[in-house]
């Protein structure tokens, strides 16, 4: 919301973007910092980068702590470099809830590609921000994409909704599991199963691999069986969810490379088969020894090809943009709402009034959102209003943030 940028900010952004496009690593690093810090003018910065994005294959890697993600990412980066691709890595680590500080340790495992500036690794802290992390990560990926990286890998612990949201911004999602820990199966139950395109059974030299493979296969089988009736779009619950609502808005924007504007959220003749025709692959690796890495790259390549050839890539890109738009609007709305809360005396005061029985939380919420609702009512058609309130989240967020 700070985007009444001064001319000097615009100048600085222009120079920074020019240097980035020129291949200066330091400019890229600085752009990511400014994006991460949500520095003044960062929106303008991202807008300037946008025309140069869209070429990188974005791969999300997630899994429980200790599954071997960082080692795997290191070896993957080396494999991509071997065939001449340039690589960007965004590694997200949690922040301490007490000090807000963090120790970002993903670089410790980075060994195979050291001294090679064509692998650009950036560690990112969750910084205690709730919704903003996936925005910052997505924007950092855009920066690496604009810089010209062929492959961008986003690595995060698959520990919560936040992290799931992050990997969802990738084209291809790899879920890393290791044998011998019941936790992994638990984690998969907790919703990561639905978003994996490729499952990596790492540490495949350990006991219990066969059992884990069997469990995985069974779960994936069940996911296939359950998928279509639930969402209608098979594997990607998110695709189903956001496409349903994202469809109408995305009609107006014609996607690049899309000859016919799609009247339907699903552009393909046979919607049922299309998006669900990717069977998640299971690959076994021993990342420390570099075993199975080629298979893994092959599986990611196959998924990239599938996205391109089936039209599912367009679908995914659109739902990703839809999610991005929705997220940004929500963040902006939150800023407005926070200002309104402050204007009405601050959340502490309001809470105290509720405590003393003076009012109730619903009445307070209505009073705060009321002015905005009035504006929307005055300007828009009732249909648009339906759409705005349909995304239930804006109503929820102020409460949880405040």
């Amino acid at each position: 919301m700070t985007d009444r940028d001064s001319p000097e900010v615009a100048d600085r952004n222009q120079q920074l973007v020019a240097s980035l496009l020129d291949g200066e690593h330091r400019a890229l690093a600085r752009v990511i910092s400014r994006i991460e810090d949500r520095a003044p003018g960062h929106r303008d910065l991202i807008s300037r980068l946008h025309p140069h994005t869209g070429d990188a294959a974005v791969i999300g890697i997630t899994g429980s702590p200790g599954a071997g993600k960082s080692t795997l990412v290191d070896k993957l980066a080396a494999a991509y470099r071997d065939r001449g691709d340039t690589v960007g890595v965004v590694a997200v680590d949690p922040a301490s809830p007490y000090s807000g500080g963090s120790v970002l340790g993903d670089r410790i495992r980075m060994a195979a590609t050291v001294g090679d500036m064509d692998v650009f690794v950036r560690s990112m802290s969750a910084r205690g921000r709730l919704g903003g992390l996936s925005t910052a990560t997505t924007d950092a990926v855009h920066a690496l994409d604009a810089f010209g990286k062929d492959v961008v890998i986003v690595e995060t612990v698959g520990a919560g909704q936040n992290e799931v949201d992050i990997v969802r911004t990738a084209d291809t999602v790899g879920v890393v599991v290791q044998p011998g820990s019941g936790d992994d199966v638990q984690m998969l139950k907790a919703g990561i199963l639905e978003i994996g395109d490729v499952f990596v059974v790492n540490k495949a030299d350990m006991d219990g691999v066969d059992r884990l493979l069997a469990e995985l296969e069974e779960m994936l089988h069940r996911r296939e069986a359950d998928g279509p009736p639930a969402g209608g779009v098979g594997h990607h619950g998110r695709t189903a969810g956001s496409a349903a609502r994202g469809g109408p808005t995305s009609e107006a924007r014609s996607d690049a490379g899309d000859q016919n504007p799609d009247p339907d959220p699903d552009p393909d003749p046979d919607p049922g088969v299309d998006v669900s025709s990717w069977d998640p692959r299971v690959v076994t690796t021993v990342a420390t020894a570099g075993e199975g890495i080629d298979d893994l790259v092959g599986a990611f390549d196959a998924h990239t090809r599938y996205l391109r050839e089936s039209g599912a890539g367009r679908h995914r890109a659109r739902s990703r943009h839809a999610a991005e738009i929705r997220r940004l609007v929500r963040e902006d709305a939150n800023v407005l709402l926070d200002a309104e809360i402050r204007r009405q005396g601050g959340v502490e005061t309001l809470a105290e009034r509720v405590r003393t029985g003076d009012t109730d939380p619903y009445a307070v919420a209505s009073a705060i959102v009321g002015p905005i609702a009035d504006c929307v009512d005055a300007d828009g058609e009732s249909a648009e209003r339906d759409d705005a309130t349909g995304g239930s989240a804006p109503g929820r967020d102020p409460g949880s943030d405040a």
């Binding site: 330091r26 600085r30 949500r38 520095a39 120790v103 670089r107 410790i108 980075m110 500036m117």
Partner: protein, 146 residues
């Protein structure tokens, strides 16, 4: 907004704690990394046995405010200059505060300072002293959020 610990800044201080060369003693680096984290800094830890070029690569890519090099091997006179040179090559030196921790003999200290090392913290330095130094000296950038 986000956790803010610096005095005049609206973003966390980013540090790289680096072990350089053939030096396997990382207890000190770990302790410092944790203390910095608890002070609210974002700390990237390099891991052991890094070459100077790797440290430079990490410092540039991570866009850190502070680079802390831990050396207990006695090779500081050869390793530190290489890091300084590398940072200069990428135009990152002027905006990075370089500090060194570990066993640095008194007679070597002036030379390191002339090279651009902002501070040297030997054994027994109170943690708070190092933290305060970083807080006070981490560069404010022209484009920092107000």
């Amino acid at each position: 907004m986000s956790a803010d610990t610096g005095r005049d800044r609206n973003r966390p201080i980013r540090c790289l704690i680096a072990k350089v060369g053939l030096d396997g003693h990382d207890r000190g680096a770990h302790v410092i990394a944790r203390a910095f984290r608890d002070a609210g800094f974002e700390v990237v830890y390099s891991g052991l046995h890094r070459a100077p070029e790797e440290i430079v690569q990490a410092a540039v890519q991570e866009d850190v405010d502070v680079l802390g090099i831990s050396i207990l091997s006695g090779a500081h006179n050869t390793l530190v200059p290489k890091v300084v040179e590398g940072l200069e090559e990428y135009g990152a030196f002027s905006e990075t505060v370089l500090i060194v921790g570990g066993i640095i003999p008194e007679e070597d200290r002036d030379r390191l300072r002339e090279m651009g090392v902002a501070a040297i913290f030997g054994p027994g330095t109170p943690m708070q002293e190092t933290i305060d130094f970083v807080r006070e000296n981490a560069p404010i950038r022209a484009d920092d959020p107000a």
